[in-house]
Symmetry: C2
Subunit: 412 residues, 2 copies
């Protein structure tokens, strides 16, 4: 691991000085090589899938693992999309002059070396590796054991492509073992790794956060809320609630809890609940919600703290925006929450007081996504407040330095 | 500690919604109360000083501890200066509209709760508390045992002033014990504290960084370099080197190593070394440096990695800007480094490749200071790359959230 760390540090020093176009060309070369090596990647993936089935993995876990030509092509195109993004490095974030004539510039620079620890999705190898390279960072990838052969084949193709474009292959390194102890060593290499980004289920992320001696950008799941205010428009409320919950139930931006203002309950609760039930969503409600439809199940206390990631929603009535804010801040995960209202004051109070990375007014929580924000590819959504909050794209994988231009100034 | 954490979290939720002028008034009220309680603060300080002397503390440690009316007045004025700074919270950092009509705003918000762990300077209680309040954060202060009574008296005065202005007194809390175990508990309260800022010597900072379960913004000392390039102007080189080393030798921005381009050595090495020696600075040099003056002592390998914080400098000749950059990145502390040159290409190569928070061209390393940058008060200089790098002022104690304004948009 130490040799990997030193190689990554050396590569990152080179990458920091590489012009934007050279990085874009390396990403396109990696994409081309990935297409060229598609057969090799699929063969490696077949090994992984066979072993997974042998170990008796279930359908959804295997499905995450399986690659086919379309998925490999999607990875390659993803790298080309990253190549086409604006380069985040080198831009002047701010510039000002001091009375003594010093010109101070805050200039965007790469973070350095990024450690990515992920589970069974082999495409993370390409997505994360590409985003790190775009932002001028070297990365150390530690994929899941189930997808090890696939990840190695993908990483080998990308390294070959990067090298063919004249950049250091060690810009992307895959930890060459599935030994769990390697993760522990990685999380202790503070001298070689600047930030750790875990991608996977809560248990992985919690283990990484608990063990890491290196700062962690957490990509946590979300307990997202939709609050329907007294001043909500019925059509918008019904559209936003339905889309937030049912568009895709397995994403971290999916709504898990519906809050309805008591003053709007008589008007909106029945249609909102009926829409959800008729769409095949189980509704677990408080007494007021259960009163509008016998199919509503009683909500238990733990429902308010549960991320279903399924066609299930908890629902309750609250007394106005302040009780809604209190519920969200107490039971939510500081990820993404929405208010539906035509009342600007209520919207401002909700967006101002809800302590979440993303707060929406009259829009679906499922917009919680870097691409939907116009940031291009993302490595995840940060629910932490330090450094990066919300979608983590190429720009969030950078730091800055101060460049101060003088003419011989000395400090009195 | 848990009760303190919960109280801080509750106070931070209130502070996040407080308008700028209310925070400024609370800071002025805290300053007024500090002046009013000056006698009480000095009496408490006298206790601390007596105990310190009884425990046989040395002159400089006691000097850091001692308060007098002028130092209390300086703390009060410092709080008023912070009150007059622009408020960092609530500003729109970026705003854009998506093709679907969603308007996305990145809005500056407080971090939440900041834990400050410091040593014997009681004025940190006022400076750090004021800066946290300015940025809308609650803070938990853990002062050194030597200055405990002084810190408590200062914190009590500030809390009373804040409360008199209608803001929660728990915006500033002092850990009411000098028990070392309290620090360990503080560093584990990730649910109540969002970031830890240690202020003090290397041993304190290293202990905090090693133990903390909470992100740490490190304010480390600095091994700062001045590189005098072949194309350096002699007058600027002599002024910048002398000021970088000798203006104040005890600050983290003081230069510790002089690097001179071999191509400039014949012209500049002798006057640079003579200036330093005649100013009373010990010079430890390589052979080329020793050759210009018999008073130069031989540099040992460890000199290149030593922060003297004293009238001592290590000096060597390097082969051009690339060897200078390599030396700085290998031996420096990523804090502050300067190049003296009239050659724009050399300056750009140095500023682009030196991996430090602050890189100066033709200016003294002693400008490494938030006030000198025009940022007003600072809580320290971050040598880390995540979240904050360089001077950490009120703005660096904030995060952001995304506020997304829609009109009923749903995601396809």
């Amino acid at each position: 691991m130490d040799a990997i760390g030193r190689a990554a540090r050396a590569a990152s020093a080179m990458l920091a000085a590489v012009p934007a176009e050279a990085k874009a060309q390396a990403l396109r070369a990696a994409a081309a090589r990935l297409r060229q090596d598609c057969g090799r990647v699929l063969a490696a993936n077949a090994e992984d899938v066979a072993q997974a089935r042998a170990r008796g993995l279930t359908g959804s876990l295997v499905d995450r693992l399986v690659l086919d030509p379309a998925r490999v092509e999607a990875m390659a195109r993803g790298l080309e999309d990253i190549a086409d993004l604006p380069d985040p490095v080198g831009g002047i974030i701010a510039e000002w002059e001091r009375p003594n004539g010093l010109r101070i510039r805050r200039v965007r620079v790469p973070l350095g070396v990024i450690g990515i620890i992920y589970e069974s999705r082999p495409n993370v190898t390409a997505d994360a590796g590409g985003l790190c390279l775009k932002s001028g960072n070297a990365c150390i990838l530690r994929g899941g054991s189930e997808s090890f052969a696939s990840s190695r084949a993908i990483a080998d193709a990308m390294r070959a492509g990067i090298a063919s474009a004249g950049l250091p292959a060690d810009a992307i390194q895959l930890v060459p073992t599935t030994d769990r102890a390697a993760v522990g060593r990685m999380l202790a290499m503070a001298e070689h790794i600047d930030v750790i980004v875990p991608r996977g289920g809560r248990s992985l992320i919690e283990r990484v956060a608990a063990e890491s001696r290196i700062p962690v950008i957490k990509h946590l799941d979300g307990i997202c809320h939709v609050y329907v205010d007294a001043a909500a428009d019925e059509a918008k409320a019904r559209a936003v609630v339905m889309n937030s919950k049912m568009r895709r139930t397995s994403v971290c931006g999916a709504a898990e809890t519906l809050l309805v203002d008591r003053a709007a309950a008589a008007r909106l609760l029945a249609p909102l609940v009926r829409d959800l039930l008729e769409a095949g969503c189980e509704v677990r409600g408080d007494e007021a919600v259960r009163a509008v439809d016998p199919r509503v199940r009683p909500a238990a206390p733990e429902d308010w703290d549960t991320e279903y990631l399924d066609a299930v929603i908890s629902a309750r009535v609250v007394d106005g925006v302040d009780e809604a804010v209190a519920h969200v801040n107490r039971h939510g995960s500081h990820h993404t929450d929405a208010i539906v209202t035509e009342d600007r004051a209520a919207a401002a109070r909700f967006t101002g007081r809800v302590d979440s990375a993303i707060v929406l007014v009259n829009a679906s929580t499922q917009f919680a996504d870097g691409a939907e924000f116009g940031m291009g590819a993302e490595i995840g959504i940060s629910t932490g407040k330090l450094h990066a909050r919300g979608p983590v794209g190429a720009e969030q994988l950078t730091s800055y330095k101060y460049v101060v231009l003088g003419d011989g100034q000395t400090r009195p």
